[in-house]
Amino acid sequence: MRTLSYQLSSISLQLKRFFIFIGEIFALFFETIRCTFSSPFYFSRLMEQITHIGYGSTSITVVIGLTMGLVMTLNFGYGLAKFGGTLYVPAVVSLSLAREMAPLFTSLLVAGRVGSGIAAEIGAMNVTQQIDAIRALGTSPVRVLVVPRFWALVLSLPLLSALSFAVGILGGLIVCKTEFDIIPGLYLYKVFSTVKFHDYMSGLVKSAVFAGIITIFACYKGLNTRDGTKGVGLTTTWVVVTASILILVTDFFISKIFLVIW
């Protein structure tokens, strides 16, 4: 009986902690939006973060985009060739890239690169009392640190996904020409006649939502980092794992919504 009551109280405590955590995540999100639409807005910090977060992620985006395009085209090409469906390769690859692969893989990579960076930077600032200093000097850590990072990634990640898509299409074009004798003109015609506006939008909206998830969770965890450098290490790991899982789960629901709408 005592064990059961202990287990029940432990579960209720964990549930309480979980709901507090969810509440704090939403509070940080709403505070970020509130600070965005009230002065001062740090435009220079936003530009600095866009350069750091967005421009700094272009090289890995190009690598992942090109690799996806090359590998997917190769696999779909040989798979469909067995059924005489080689001509469908550009359509399949471009649709997969636009709707799923480009936004998803780019976001997962950016979650690793940028999410961990944000969490480590803010976490280190927290354990060295720099966040307290920002507050003690009459300024808001959300306004100074979270808002520029949030908007920098929300603006940059859709652009990075678009870049990843474009480079992926280029990779597909190279494989189609060299392996399956599909001329570039036909390949591009098939791509652009298959991928519609809502397919592009699906990828862009997903990327923006994923960007929001990455920054809010990374900033939240950074602002709540404790226990010195050990805490900073735990924070970065937690952010990458949590953001990646949430990206994958959210991807399903956004895909479903877009399929219902269009």
Binding site: M125, Q130, R135, A136, L137, G138, S140
Partner: protein, 244 residues
């Protein structure tokens, strides 16, 4: 009768089961320096953090110019945090920007001064803390004592009415301690009130108008440095002797 600049009434604070303050009350007048002494873990720093709103108290009142501030939100606290600044134990400098940007930060945030005016003010402040021409150095290039002084410069650049010093001389060699203490003396001469958390009894006696001793969450001594030295309170005696 001169009004209190700051007044704490019956402050209670705990972290879980751990009771930190159990009815702490004190006052601070304009230009007055108050030394806050006590053993490790008696809540001296927590009291400073509570005054500026970095920690929330469980019960009691904090009055600044007779206005209650303990219940205010972060945004509502902003004007008070401009008039009442906090000097962190380790300086808490922003490590990604240089000395100039660290000291200029409050000016960029809270004033409409031009860049040139800010540059002049920062240069004057660096002169005051004996770090003239060090604007371009990064915090990592500075010694511990220099970092503390830059942190103090940042906290006083907006000419606050009160500075809360959290162990400004902790971990410093005698020469650096002297530099920091003489800087605090200069600020005292300017009429800035202060609360000075320290373990350094000699600096507290030199600088402060009143000394307060915290013990087990309560104030057990609140009087002038002269009376502090002559106190027959066994805890105060033990504290003085342990530092000798």
């Amino acid at each position: 009768m001169e009004q209190n600049l700051l007044e704490l009434k019956n402050i209670h604070k705990s972290f879980g089961e751990n009771l930190i303050h159990q009815g702490v009350s004190l006052t601070l007048k304009k230009g007055e320096s108050l030394g806050l002494l006590g053993g490790s873990g008696t809540g001296k720093s927590v009291l400073l953090r509570s005054i500026i709103g970095l920690e929330r108290i469980d019960r009691g009142e904090i009055l600044f110019h007779q206005e209650r501030i303990e219940h205010l939100s972060e945004n509502q606290l902003t004007p008070y945090r401009i008039k009442m600044s906090y000097s962190f134990q380790n300086g808490a400098l922003f490590d990604s920007v240089n000395v100039f940007e660290n000291i200029a930060y409050p000016l960029f945030e809270h004033t409409k001064l031009s860049y040139d005016e800010i540059k002049t003010k920062v240069a004057d402040m660096l002169k005051l803390i004996d770090l003239e021409g060090k604007e371009e150095l990064m915090p990592s290039d500075l010694s511990g004592g220099m970092q503390k002084r830059v942190g103090m410069a940042r906290s006083m650049i907006l000419n606050p009415e009160i500075i809360l010093y959290d162990e400004p001389t902790a971990g410093l060699d005698p020469a650096n301690t002297l530099n920091v203490v003489s800087l605090m003396q200069k600020l005292k001469q300017k009429g800035i009130a202060s609360i000075f958390v320290t373990h350094d009894i000699s600096s507290a006696i030199m600088l402060c108008d009143r000394i307060i001793v915290l013990h087990q969450g309560k104030i057990i001594f609140n009087d002038t440095p002269m009376h502090f030295q002559r106190s027959d309170n066994p805890i105060v005696q033990k504290f003085i002797n342990s530092k000798e």
